[in-house]
């Protein structure tokens, strides 16, 4: 059973426009959520996170929104840049659980067209 799902395997967006990536989760024990970006042949790079006590966190061009009642989070990138072209993974963990292991979604491949 997939506890974290990214239903859009790919997304294409024009440079300068907004990219919106979505993620749904099923486990109500998750209380910490992260987005990672991955280029080919590299490890995932941390982008932004949000705790379940918040509904929004912003860092430069990246904003993560959390809707706990819907068990849904989204990542907004604005404005999108060609260097943002990568695979984006949503991840979740339970801080109260031992270890804080991450459960990942399947990823969304983003292509930003110049």
């Amino acid at each position: 059973d997939q506890q974290v799902k990214q239903n859009s395997p790919s997304l294409s967006v024009q440079e300068g426009r907004i990219s919106i990536l979505n993620c749904d989760y099923t486990n109500s024990m998750f209380d910490y959520f992260l987005w990672y970006k991955k280029y080919p042949a590299e490890g995932p790079t941390f982008l932004i996170s949000i705790s379940s006590i918040k509904d929004k966190n912003e860092d430069g061009r990246f904003t993560v929104f959390l809707n706990k009642s819907a068990k849904h989070l989204s990542l907004h990138i604005v404005p999108s840049q060609p260097g943002d072209s990568a695979v984006y993974f949503c991840a979740a963990s339970g801080i109260k659980a031992a270890g804080n292991k991450l459960t990942f979604g399947g990823g969304t491949r983003v292509l930003v067209k110049p």
Partner: protein, 113 residues
């Protein structure tokens, strides 16, 4: 400072052989994780270390997989009698404190022929 490093970056092995994958976490990071990404899949948790002990091994797919960590630093993931389905990118991550992100290494791409 130095990030998480992993070696080798690529490993091709014959079915049935044993392999060892190494991870050097960021200095001072007490928590260490192994994940793997099979072709077309997301990242899958394998094992977690806190210091030298492994409180959560729930993601290891079979008893052919084992891992250890020594000196609270370097970790080795060993796969015995490799099978073709073991082919994947094996990623290591480390974390400094409980409410913080995990930092990933570049991964080891394992191909079992």
């Amino acid at each position: 400072g130095a990030g998480v490093s992993q070696s080798p970056s690529n490993k091709v092995t014959e079915k049935g052989k044993d392999v060892e994958l190494r991870c050097d976490p960021i200095s001072g990071h007490t928590a260490l994780y192994w994940y793997r990404q099979s072709l077309g899949q997301g990242l899958e948790f394998l094992i977690y270390f806190q210091g030298n002990s492994a409180p959560d091994k729930s993601g290891l797919p079979s008893d052919r997989f084992s891992a250890e960590r020594t000196g609270g630093s370097v970790s080795t993931l060993t796969i015995q009698r490799t099978q073709q389905e073991d082919s994947a990118v094996y990623l290591c991550a480390s974390r400094q404190k409980r409410e913080s992100e995990q930092y990933f290494g570049p991964g080891t791409r394992l191909t079992v022929t």
